[in-house]
């Protein structure tokens, strides 16, 4: 899911909007996390009240499994870092391809970008899981490709497409005067791009890029559907190991929601901060 920053092209409506930035930016506050924690505690106590005395108390069970679940979450983060890295590298190249002077390359990169942007993340994940070989044979050695790495590649595909669009959007959002000024100073196209245009774009690209990272992090749980042992898979296994007690469901899922919230919320807050900061400086 991408949350494109809201824009309008009706000039008559612009001043009021610019004004509204200050007033309506979401106030993200620590108590939002508290609410989640409360749900977690509340559902735990509801479950506790329902459970029979024979069973272990819910908090005890949750605390017993917590280290394992957190390890699983760290795995989610590893997947997210790798997928973001791969996606950004390939996506940046694709995005530059989209603004290439060569019409054929431009069309091709545009098509690839659109193709992977329009596909649901889960479908791309399946695509990578089922169609990538379990190992690469490069003549002298066989490089194994474990499931989690395939999942990482699968998740990096939509990241790649979105990064490509972010790059294209940022470059296109610069006033054409920048290109013309550089041209009149006898810069080559390549010099203009790397020395003038891209440095200015980094600022514009950072907030959407961080937003994308947050979306990717939340998408890593999809890997549980294809059997990678990340936090969601481990949660399911923990619940099964406890004998499928239904009173454990709410606390465990709340706990997973909570870890993601604690991780993604500061990123969202920082993104909003950067957006505001860059918007003021223009």
């Amino acid at each position: 899911m991408s949350a494109r920053t809201f824009k309008t092209d009706l000039p008559v409506l612009l001043p009021a909007q610019a004004k509204s930035v200050e007033r309506f930016s979401i106030r993200l506050e620590p108590w939002h996390g508290l609410v989640l924690l409360l749900i977690c505690v509340f559902s735990a106590s509801v479950g506790f009240a329902q459970s029979t005395p024979v069973k272990a108390p819910i908090f005890e069970v949750l605390i017993r499994w917590m280290p394992l679940l957190l390890t699983g979450f760290v795995f989610n983060l590893v997947i997210s870092f790798l997928a973001m890295g791969i996606g950004t590298a390939v996506g940046a190249a694709l995005g530059l391809g989209q603004i290439s002077p060569n019409p054929l390359l431009r069309k091709f990169c545009w098509f690839v970008t659109q193709f992977f942007r329009n596909s649901p993340w889960l479908v791309l994940l399946f695509f990578a899981m089922f169609l990538l070989p379990f190992q690469f044979d490069i003549g002298i050695a066989k490089i194994p490709l474990p499931d989690w790495l395939k999942a990482t590649i699968g998740l990096s595909l939509p990241v790649m497409a979105n990064v490509s669009e972010i790059v294209r959007g940022a470059v296109n959002s610069l006033p054409s005067g920048q290109w013309e000024a550089a041209e009149s100073l006898a810069y080559t196209r390549r010099q203009t791009l790397w020395l003038i245009i891209l440095p200015q774009c980094v600022k514009r690209m950072l907030p959407p890029w961080m937003n994308l990272y947050s979306i990717l992090t939340m998408a890593t749980v999809l890997a549980s559907i294809v059997g990678v042992s990340e936090v969601m898979t481990l949660t399911g296994q923990a619940l099964a190991a406890e004998g499928g007690r239904s009173d454990l469901l709410a606390p465990f899922y709340s706990f997973v929601l909570l870890i993601f919230f604690i991780y993604c919320y500061p990123i969202a807050r920082w993104t909003v901060y950067l957006e505001k900061k860059f918007a003021v400086k223009g």
Binding site: M1, S2, A3, R4, F6, K7, T8, D9, L10, P11, V12, L13, P15, A16, Q17, S20, R23, F24, I26, R27, L28, W31, H32, V35, L36, S43, V46, Q114, F115, N118, S119, P120, W121, L122, V123, L124, F126, F127, F130, L131, M218, A219, T220, V221, L222, S224, I225, M232, S246, L249, A250, Y253, S254, V256, L257, F260, F261, C264, Y265, A268
Partner: protein, 248 residues
């Protein structure tokens, strides 16, 4: 039509490219049902997420501090946690707390089925985005335009209905469309709780026919076309709704 289907059966025999959802009437039916369910789930979620968005935007204008805080909490909660875990939470955790109802066959069934839970969960997820979209739209209408209507004697309701809403709607349309496209893509998550939508049916077919490659490529293509058509339709709609003389 039959010869068309036959051609794909021959294609399979000759080349091994197996597309049973074209030549096999049973698989064709499954695939089509899955497609319809994806559309249905999208429409249901679209409807409820817009309702949630409108109510949320209205509540955010409330003078009560705690009302605004609760709405904000809802938005942050649903935007910063994985939609899949939200879906599991709704389906497994809340679903298990609800009472069961007796079926006609004397057994017991959950109060809400998996389609209903997918619809609820995804509506809340998309709704969290819509609240902010709607609010920004209403706020984007200049006070001076509202004032002009006031000076002409329009009542509050008339101003909201004739001036604010039509203008706000045009402003939010691109963001709303973007959200809708994402919603259609997110319906694939319903696969995880066995809602027989398009991806789920495709999975059934590749399990039965062992033709993962073909089905995978077909899925990519199907969503590409589905979303492509949607984006195209939305863009033409945006163009049609554009106020002449404004924008580039």
């Amino acid at each position: 039509m039959e010869t068309f289907y036959e051609w794909f059966r021959v294609l399979y025999d000759e080349t091994g490219i197996n597309l049973p959802f074209i030549y096999d009437s049973y698989d064709r039916g499954r695939m089509f049902d899955g497609f319809l369910l994806t559309i249905k789930l999208s429409l249901v979620c679209l409807f409820f997420s817009i309702i949630i968005g409108m109510i949320g935007a209205w509540l955010q204008g409330s003078p009560l501090k705690w009302t605004r805080r609760i709405v904000n909490g809802y938005i942050q909660l649903f935007r910063n946690t994985p939609p899949l875990v939200q879906l599991y939470f709704f389906y497994f955790a809340i679903g298990s707390l609800l009472p069961k109802v007796a079926t006609d066959y004397g057994g017991e069934a959950p109060l809400l089925g998996n389609f209903a839970w997918a619809a609820i969960s995804l509506s809340f997820f998309a709704g969290a985005f819509n609240v902010e979209i709607f609010r920004s739209g209403v706020e984007a209408v200049p006070d001076s335009t509202v004032e002009a209507a006031e000076a002409l004697g329009f009542s509050r309701l008339q101003i909201y209905k004739d001036i604010t809403l039509p203008l706000a709607f045009r402003v939010v349309l691109p963001a709303l469309n973007n959200n809708l496209v994402n919603l259609v893509k997110t319906t694939t998550l319903a696969y995880a709780i066995a809602v027989p939508e398009m991806l789920y049916e495709a999975n059934q077919i590749w399990s039965d026919n062992v033709n993962v490659t073909e089905m995978m490529l077909f899925m990519l293509l199907a969503y590409f076309v589905l979303v492509g058509v949607l984006v195209w339709a939305m863009n033409s709609w945006e163009r049609a709704m554009k106020i002449p003389g404004y924008g580039s």
